[in-house]
């Protein structure tokens, strides 16, 4: 990923999280808990499951549409990171060649079934995480993590990291641009140059930490970061926390795709 585009990407996610929709208004703790439940349920299926997994798209789809999040952008983001998963999954058809079933005259091997099962798992889990962040924002997620009981030192680390990512991505991008302007071909950065380039960035970072610390002390920093935004757990949040997990358990138990499908096939 190019250093500039990474910054724009994170900024856009932050922008999406500023919207005001029913999904954005749900308590971040509720969203995190339901998300974790969702991921566990999806991943608990055996590796040849496809049709039952498809029904689980209801959750991310619902959040995406009612949260007014751009489907095209999220899909593109998922596709960009999918090659690693595909690279591993593609070995399943190679090593698992037994016939699973015949569809429209073509033999489908078990390896292909598990290949598509892995892809569906990937889109479900990675998609739901992106939607969680795009509809909540990082600060609120951190706040919720602290309330849930994550050590405050770690939450503080996450907040600091996130705050300075944009600054350092900017600084790094400027250094790369400066290097590009002074080198005549686009051969890339040599290792020797890279050492001093990154070393310089590191020194600036350490100095920056010193300045930040002085500024924090001047403002009365006593070792704890206070998040001055209140979150309230409402009745609708309770409904959210109960409704979805119950639905997930039902979808885990009964294959709704097949049930609904065979019901309709019987009618027509």
């Amino acid at each position: 990923m190019k250093i500039g585009s990474a910054r724009d990407d994170a900024l856009y996610m932050e922008e999406l999280s500023q919207k005001d929709t029913p999904v954005h208004r749900i308590d971040p703790r509720a969203k995190i808990i339901v998300n974790i439940f969702f991921i566990f349920t999806v991943l608990s299926f055996n590796r040849y499951e496809i049709s039952a997994l498809v029904t689980f798209f209801t959750f991310p789809l619902f959040l995406m549409v009612s949260g007014d999040l751009p489907a095209g952008y999220l899909t593109k983001k998922l596709l960009l990171i999918s090659p690693i998963v595909v690279l591993i999954a593609v070995f399943n058809p190679v090593f698992d060649r037994e016939t699973a079933f015949i569809l429209a005259g073509a033999e489908i091997s078990a390896g292909w079934v598990s290949f598509f099962s892995i892809l569906i798992r990937f889109f479900l889990t990675a998609g739901s995480i992106l939607i969680l962040i795009a509809s909540t924002g990082f600060y609120k997620v951190c706040m919720a993590l602290e309330r849930i009981g994550v050590p405050s030192l770690f939450v503080m680390q996450l907040l600091f990291l996130y705050r300075y990512i944009f600054v350092l991505l900017d600084e790094g991008a400027r250094m790369v641009r400066a290097h590009a302007l002074r080198s005549f071909s686009d051969r890339g950065i040599k290792i020797k140059t890279f050492g001093s380039l990154l070393g310089n960035l590191l020194l600036r970072t350490v100095d920056r930490a010193d300045r930040i610390h002085s500024a924090m002390l001047a403002r009365g920093f006593d070792g704890s970061v206070t998040l001055n935004r209140r979150i309230k757990f409402r009745t609708s949040d309770a409904f959210f926390v109960v409704f979805w997990p119950v639905l997930f358990i039902l979808m885990r138990r009964y294959n709704f795709s097949e049930l609904i499908g065979s019901f309709f096939l019987r009618i027509f």
Binding site: I84, I88, D96, Y164, G195, G199, R252, S257
Partner: protein
Amino acid sequence: MSDALVSPAVGGMFWITTSAILWYCSRKLREFIGSVRVPLMGVLGAFIFAAQMINFSIPGTGSSGHLGGGLLLAIILGPQAAFIVISSVLVVQALFFADGGILALGCNIFNMGFFPAFIAYPLIFRKMINKRPGKPMIVAASVTASVVSLQLGAFSVVIETLLSGISSLPLSTFVLLMQPIHLAIGIVEGVVTAAVVIFVWNSRPEILGGLKPAGSASISMKNLIAVFVVAAVVVGGAVSWFASSNPDGLEWAIFRTSGSELEAPEKSLYSHLAFFQDKTSIMPDYSISGGGSSEEPAWPDINSETTIAGIAGGLLTLIVTFLISLTMRRKIRPSR
């Protein structure tokens, strides 16, 4: 590691392991809360984030690489703080770029945080530097430590994937695929880490306080053993649970609440595949073929009707959800 390739048992077990290590590190660092270390750790995390996106060209190959940063962090901050910083970088990557995933986060933190911070740095890098501090040794120690930590990390990925049983890759093939690639990555990582460390060593050696012989950042053997024991107990406990005939946590929970194991509808694609899983799975009892079902369908029992039903039903569900979600959109207020 990616969520799509990990099973709840393996993911959960590594979540517990890394949470325990994180908790240990947070406790260890409590005395530094309020000191310059807090912003330093935060900003260094952002630095690693930025550094991972600056590429350099690898001579003679035409390809490019970037810094991973685990070892570099351990050299600057010491093992515990480095582990926390690496974890925080991985959390942000998992959330913002869906890189890896939530369930696999424990695995990823373990693979990329534990090995450089608690193995490669204290047991290899520091031991070598303590013998003969100096620039040639920085290069040798960085390369050795990076290679070892990446080999261990890569092997750990292989083990986690195999234990999860989602991928069909055999052990030997996967090892042959992963280890050589990570040998190359490890050497490059070591050279680049050394280049950065030597630059800082030349211009501002005080930042690398830990590189002096018998520095303060060393980790006691007692604590290291304690971490290992905790990890071993957790891993051992979870593996035995995994290998037992009990199904995974969720099924177990459902079993407890409903009093029956999940039963797949008979004559479904599911039950055909469950047969398969019995044959191929490393844990035959894991499958949920409805233990007591009397007739085992003939293999291969092709029933394309249920397959089509499955596809049609799935699509229908999604369309209905989409329509319901659309009605929710009326409640959307304009952006702030």
